[in-house]
Symmetry: C2
């Protein structure tokens, strides 16, 4: 497997056009587009998205959002963590380890990572070193929470 | 379009076996199974799931979870609402209006309904009378929130 460079994506019209190739496209992307068109944000503003390019083409991406420790319901000790969502590699580029490169990047930031494993992707997340958490209805509301624990971090006990 | 009866699903081994046919299967279903096997819940306990049967076969389902008004970040006036997730109709049974019957059931309960529209299902939700909300990063974290407003209810202003 090669190592693909993971870069932070900037919000500009090119990036927004690339985003249209991904299945998980919705209010978040539309909101960025409106902010850019309305000059609410600058061209090339930093986005919460990270991606991998093949030449000029964005072929994989994920969004990472830092959650403040005071909202942490997953980790012990309570701490800042990253929520990872919209991890997606375009079909023609799957199987090259691009998803793994993106996840490794998230893990390299030094904080725990939490995601919602969708549509039977459990095997992928386990291969990435993530673990399922006990399901707590009030907290998880139908999510399928998987987390990556750095050394010395464990599941919050209050959670079930 | 016919009208299909929507029933509340009970947690028992038959239901849990039926759940395995759905794509969105994860910690929530596994947790129910463990609770049943460990006698933590009774056979035929009420679940947060509602479904439609064709004869003996569960062909559509959704989960509805009532959120207390004190956690309401979507509606004005602040009120109890339902969060709808895991709406899914088995492929061979799509196009018969079963999804609509499930959503109509949720709307009939007299409270606003919020969902996360996934994978470009926006057109479906709009046909169901739902509307997209302004995207608020801190609240929505990559979700694609769509809501149904009953008469007299509107979007919370604090939200962007």
């Amino acid at each position: 497997m090669e190592n693909y460079e993971v870069v932070r994506l900037h919000v500009n019209f090119k990036t927004l056009e690339e985003f249209e190739n991904f299945r998980e496209y919705g209010q978040q992307e539309l909101s960025m587009k409106e902010d850019l068109e309305g000059n609410i944000i600058e061209n090339d503003s930093e986005s919460p998205f990270y991606g991998v390019y093949f030449g000029n083409k964005l072929v994989g991406r994920m969004s990472l959002y830092k959650i403040d420790k005071k909202f942490d319901e997953y980790f012990d000790p309570k701490q800042d963590y990253y929520e990872l969502w919209k991890l997606e590699v375009l079909p023609a580029y799957q199987g090259k380890g691009i998803g793994k490169n993106l996840v490794d990047f998230a893990k390299s930031l030094g904080l725990p990572v939490k995601t919602n494993a969708r549509q039977r992707s459990d095997a992928f997340w386990e291969k990435m070193g993530f673990e399922p958490l006990s399901y707590v209805e009030e907290r998880d509301r139908g999510e399928n929470p998987y987390v990556w624990f750095p050394e010395g971090v464990s599941e919050q006990h209050s959670a079930k």
